[in-house]
Symmetry: C2
Subunit: 433 residues, 2 copies
């Protein structure tokens, strides 16, 4: 039984490898034709897709999943339209494959081109969101990669219905059906086999919660690109414009508090803390943000809250615990500290941040440059919201996630980042001396 | 005891992380000053270095190591001069850090720069070659990375002496001493601890034999960049110039048969096999290369060898086993096959090669383009030797190895490939809509 499962997963990977060699030389027009066919099939198959989703939803209710979890699983006709539109958008994006990234000629006359090529076979391990099957399949297909998809058990029927549609779109347009394959079981043993097939699969991308990503990273012999969530900082420098600071802080913290590029930590320069903190805190409190404060900021804010104008602030304040200073709240909570200098701000961030996204608010260009040089994070913004660390906001058109790794891809990961490269050498008979 | 060791290794990694933050903002001139100081110290300390090496050599003899293994361990004054020269050469190379790789402005006015930065902390796991400690230390230092070095036990005294010199060069020029640290034990438990410190170390590069690399890849939770050796092909197309084919084949196979970019496999198009094979085979035989032949090539060559002119060839011929077709001989042995078409050559290579380096010899530009498009290897050469897959030959000036991975770095890995990037955003108060 387990041997059969291992054999099945290996066979899937072998087929993916074969398909990847075909995809790597498939012209853009043919890949786009498959995508556009899929965009047609999605609304046409809405009855089957919603029926499959209904099975998953019924099981979720029977298993007592929380309401917000069930909502996340739920497909609707509107979500299907949105998915079809995103497929068309990916078809319209430029093909990353074949671009010459660099080229040069050596003194001996050989001409070297560094040419962008697909990575090969990509395994995507994900949890219970219905759009991920389509998102990952289309990004891999557009970038010329074969995809092996392993979704969560809560959404298995929906995923299976989506995968059948993808297979049909590939068949209808003459592309290899094995270009996108769903592992037809959510048995953990199948995943464990998959993560060791390092001669057939070239990259694993886990999408989901931290425990899933950690499990994959610890059990895979295939390179993994990790998309952990973020402990992002906003630092309000002594030379900050406070109106700008307020706008950026409110956007960074409250626009979508449950995502990885939301701010979780606020540092304020001591020189302006007495005036800046009450203003920023009351704006945050008005949005329902709770503040976990260090002693210095707590003293300033409690004193401010004792005045009648800012009394509403009082209920939002509490003393921070040590754990709060490295916490990813993913909620309307913000840890607040006062720092004596920009150097201390930099040291604090490089120690306590997760290296995802940080922002400095200052009118001092020199301070900004110093911050952007010294901060060791994927995205370092000056006078802009942390929420800009995002593939769409970067203009990538589509993204498979935001990498928290330093190798291969860092920050937003779009079609270009789903590619590797190879060197093509043109000679006229040169040999090595 | 084991807890102490784990603590020691963790402390080394914490210090490396702190040093890496300093190195990331250290100007080029200061990094180069440390390198030039090291180049001075190397010849000056030759007595201590040779004495340390003598201890390792004595132990190697006592342990009965083979003569070629002992030779590999041996330091000489000439090798020290060569090492000092390579340190000066790395100092003279351009600093990769800070280069703006791309920059663009979004419709909302934010300006995004993709800026090259060091990876951070790099762990190098290597075996018994005395130059690797210096090579890796200087490449990491120049690229702004902190290095943790873990060498083999056969060369432990030599490595320790080199590490002391590096520490002195760093101290003499005011750089953090923890920028380069040698793990002061070859205990396997220390390595196992090291490979799990994924919050402190950002990249592991194993240098050595396949079993070392495989051990590291399977036990590391830190991303590993692998430098496996190669099963490289030369394909002689029906439109090949045979003089060129002979030169390139001889160079690819015999110039340095023990290295990863040497040719191990020859494919010859059936249309020219009867004329090309005897010529190529006798040139190879004259260099002492043994040929392991498929039935078609064996028939042609045995018939040719029966003539008086090529009788010397006879003793070099044998029938290939199935294993020979995917073998990395690293010796004066070549597997030979006849293929009916370029498509069959491509399919054979994509199935049997290790994806390192392949070369097509042809006067037909269309055939070359097809080959270069479809072959799924790091380097695909047309009318040039496989031996050009090398950092120096690419003009990188120095290399830490030749990556056989597809993520982050593929092919020769120089200073640029020892870097990651970060995005620096300049705004004027933009928030996300």
């Amino acid at each position: 039984m387990s041997a059969d499962l291992a054999q099945l997963v290996t066979l899937i990977a072998q087929r993916a490898r074969a398909a990847s060699l075909v995809l790597a030389t498939t012209p853009t027009t043919r890949k786009d034709a498959a995508l556009l066919r899929l965009a047609e099939l999605l609304p046409a198959a809405s009855a089957e897709l919603l029926a499959a989703n209904a099975k998953d939803l019924a099981a979720a209710e029977a298993n007592g999943l929380a309401k917000h979890e069930i909502e996340r699983l739920t497909l609707t006709p509107a979500k299907l339209d949105h998915l079809a539109e995103s497929v068309r958008q990916v078809a319209a994006l430029p093909d990353p494959v074949g671009t010459v990234l660099e080229d040069w000629t050596r003194p001996n006359g050989i001409h070297i081109r560094k040419r962008r090529v697909p990575i090969g076979v990509i395994g995507i391990i994900y949890e219970a969101r219905p759009n991920v099957t389509i998102d990952c399949a289309i990004l891999c297909l557009k970038s010329g990669n074969a995809a092996i998809l392993r979704g969560g058990k809560e959404i298995f029927n929906t995923n299976t219905a989506f995968a059948a549609l993808i297979t049909q779109a590939l068949a209808d347009t003459g592309l290899p059906a094995d270009a996108v394959q769903l592992i037809p079981t959510t048995d953990r043993a199948a995943l464990n086999t998959l993560l060791k097939l390092d001669t057939l699969i070239h990259c694993i991308i886990p999408r989901g919660g931290e425990s899933l990503i950690r499990f994959v990273a610890q059990n895979s012999t295939i390179p993994v690109i990790k998309h952990y969530t973020g402990v992002c900082f906003v630092y309000v420098d002594k030379a900050a414009d406070l109106t700008m600071a307020e706008n950026i802080l409110i956007n960074s913290k409250t626009q979508r508090p449950g995502v990885c590029n939301t701010a979780e930590q606020l540092l304020v320069h001591a020189d302006i803390a007495a005036t800046a903190l009450p203003r920023l805190a009351s704006a945050l409190a008005a949005k329902g943000v709770q503040l976990r404060c260090d002693p210095a900021s707590l003293a300033i804010l409690q004193s401010a809250a004792s005045s009648s104008q800012l009394s509403a602030l009082k209920s939002q304040l509490s003393a921070a615990s040590a754990a709060d200073y490295t916490a990813e709240f993913l909620d309307l909570i913000l840890a607040v500290r006062v720092v004596p200098s920009i150097d201390e701000a930099i040291a604090t961030i490089n120690r306590d941040s997760s290296g995802h996204t940080e922002s400095i608010i200052t009118a001092d260009a020199e301070a900004a440059a110093r911050f952007q040089l010294a901060i060791d994070s994927a995205v370092v913004a000056w006078n802009a919201s942390t929420r800009f660390n995002d593939g769409f906001e970067f203009g990538f058109g589509a993204e498979i996630g935001i990498s928290t790794d330093r190798l291969h891809a860092r920050g937003p990961m779009g079609l270009n980042e789903l590619c590797s490269y190879k060197y093509v050498i043109d000679g006229t008979g040169q040999v090595r001396a």
